[in-house]
Amino acid sequence: MSYTSAETMIAVAARSLPNHARIFVGIGLPNLAANLARKLYTPDNILIYEAGVIGAEPLRLPISIGDPCLVTGSLAVCSFHNIFANYLQRGLIDVGFLGGAQIDRYGNINTTVVGDYRNPKVRLGGSGGGCEIAIFAKKIITIIPHDLRHFPAKVDFITSPGFVGGRQNRTALKLPGGGPEKVITNLGVLEFDADGEMILTHVHPGVTVEKVRENTGWDLNVASEVKETDPPTPEELRVMREELDPDGVYLGRRKSKTA
């Protein structure tokens, strides 16, 4: 069964989630991965959306982070302030899913600006709740395409702090959450070493370590033994294609979404 690298990325991300956890879910790829996991592996997870929706069970693929289909039949709705104060800052979120325009070796994410903040080359969306998710969630999983544009040596702007300048940096800042745990790309999986620096631990089927290094903007650390991820299973592909994204909005038949 053929599959795309985007499908591998989602399947691997889905398998990385713990069960019995509270997941703060962004729309788009994180939403697909979290819902794939919920259907196949982690039925007891509670999905929480930035718009203030807890325990959503949408009857269609949500178009935006505030889609009405997320609300009808959900367990609870709370205000914009409460989702950050009562859920994130209070420390109730186990896993935060993030995307981004740039990520650096310490897992810092930029979604604010390419170039100088005051004289931008490309003005991006900004933090939204990204900074809060990065600061407060017990662990962060990032899903991001793997190329030199997305993996620069240094992000142009720290929107969502990872380990900042290294693990001791984050500790000194006393950021409540645990920080980055995994980065899942279309090439492989990266984790963080004792210093808080990214280290390649897995490549996807058919991807070489060299290819990953070529697509990374710094001299990437590589684990002594790099494993290969399992390809998407037929069941994973079926759920993704038939149940979660039947119109292919997120999985390649249309340009992928942000919100």
Binding site: I46, I54, E57, C69, V71
Partner: protein, 308 residues
């Protein structure tokens, strides 16, 4: 709150919930501002002889007076002590006058702010009240800082994060997703601020009832450690739409509580003399139940829409 979301059943009886989650020396908050006061849990705490508790509550009320008389309390954190609508809180008052009960006192807003900080994961919050009163002379947790923008001096209070919070509500599902209406008091803040949470309800309902109106959900189930179905669990206080306050008892308590011997008898009869809440309600009797039932007044429904 459960440390993880494991699907062990949270539905249990009152005895088990109290036994499992409330221990000697705990700081506990039995919530409810004049409404939905969890008397059922308080009586079970008394029956189980739990001691040395730090009892937090804006309005200590009859519920803490009974626990004080029964010897459960080491200290009270509060903002108004009284028998609402009747007069003084005799047990509390007497022990404070005799120097036998430690107190830590706030204004209502000060205590509510402590809870909000606890619920929001902040270590403190500022407020503009309390200045000008004498309370800060006697409570050194109440401090001042200057606003970093205006320079104005403002009051600050530290977060309150009880070991155990207790909520009584009208309905919840088996996971503890709570619908609560009428006076909302500090229940939501207590739920988010507390390390463990016991919820007792008039009715356990199907999850679909909760999901039909997610805006009504005051407390998400994953905060809840124990769900106990406990009809009339708030008597002699009330549950909006279910029963009225038993004001006759509030007036009677004013008499009982002036006399330690009468209190001992009352506790013997109504707390130690019944094995559980069901027996208490039996003992209360049909006539009292009927006397306290309101007539119906239903909310207009709202449409959430089905989006396909």
């Amino acid at each position: 709150m459960q440390n993880d979301c494991e699907k062990k059943s949270k539905v249990m009886d009152l005895y088990t919930a109290v036994k499992k989650f409330i221990h000697n020396g705990d700081t506990i908050y039995l919530a409810g501002f004049t409404h939905l006061i969890p008397f059922g849990v308080a009586h079970e705490i008394i029956r189980q002889g739990i001691k040395d508790l730090i009892l937090c509550r804006a309005t200590p009320d009859l519920i803490y007076d009974q626990m004080i008389f029964a010897g459960c309390a080491r200290k009270i954190i509060f903002s108004w002590s009284g028998n609402p609508g009747v007069g003084m809180l005799q047990g509390f008052r007497k022990r404070v006058e005799e120097g036998k009960l430690e107190i830590e006192e706030y204004t209502h807003f000060g205590l509510a702010t402590r809870l909000l900080a606890g619920a929001h994961g902040m270590s403190f919050y500022p407020l503009k009240s309390i200045r000008g009163s004498d309370l800060p002379l006697y409570n050194h947790y109440i401090k001042t800082i200057n606003c970093p923008y205006t320079g104005e001096e403002v009051t600050v209070v530290p977060a309150l994060n009880p070991d155990v919070g207790v909520i009584h509500a009208q309905r919840a599902d088996q996971e503890g997703n709570v619908h609560l209406w009428g006076i909302m008091g500090e229940q939501q803040e207590v739920a988010f601020a507390s390390k463990k949470l016991i919820v007792t309800v008039e009715e356990i309902v199907d999850e679909s009832v909760i999901r039909s109106d997610p805006n009504r959900t005051l407390i998400p189930g994953f905060l809840v450690d124990a769900v106990v179905e406990l009809p009339w669990g708030a008597h002699p206080s009330y549950a909006q739409g279910y029963y009225d306050r038993d004001n006759a008892f509030y007036i009677k308590w004013d008499e009982i509580s002036r006399d330690e011997e009468q209190v001992r008898q009352w506790l013997g009869e109504w707390v130690f003399g019944v094995a559980n809440r069901q027996e208490y309600i039996q003992k209360l009797g049909a006539e009292n139940i009927l006397r306290l039932l309101p007539r119906n007044s239903f909310s207009n429904p709202v449409n959430f829409g089905i989006y396909l």
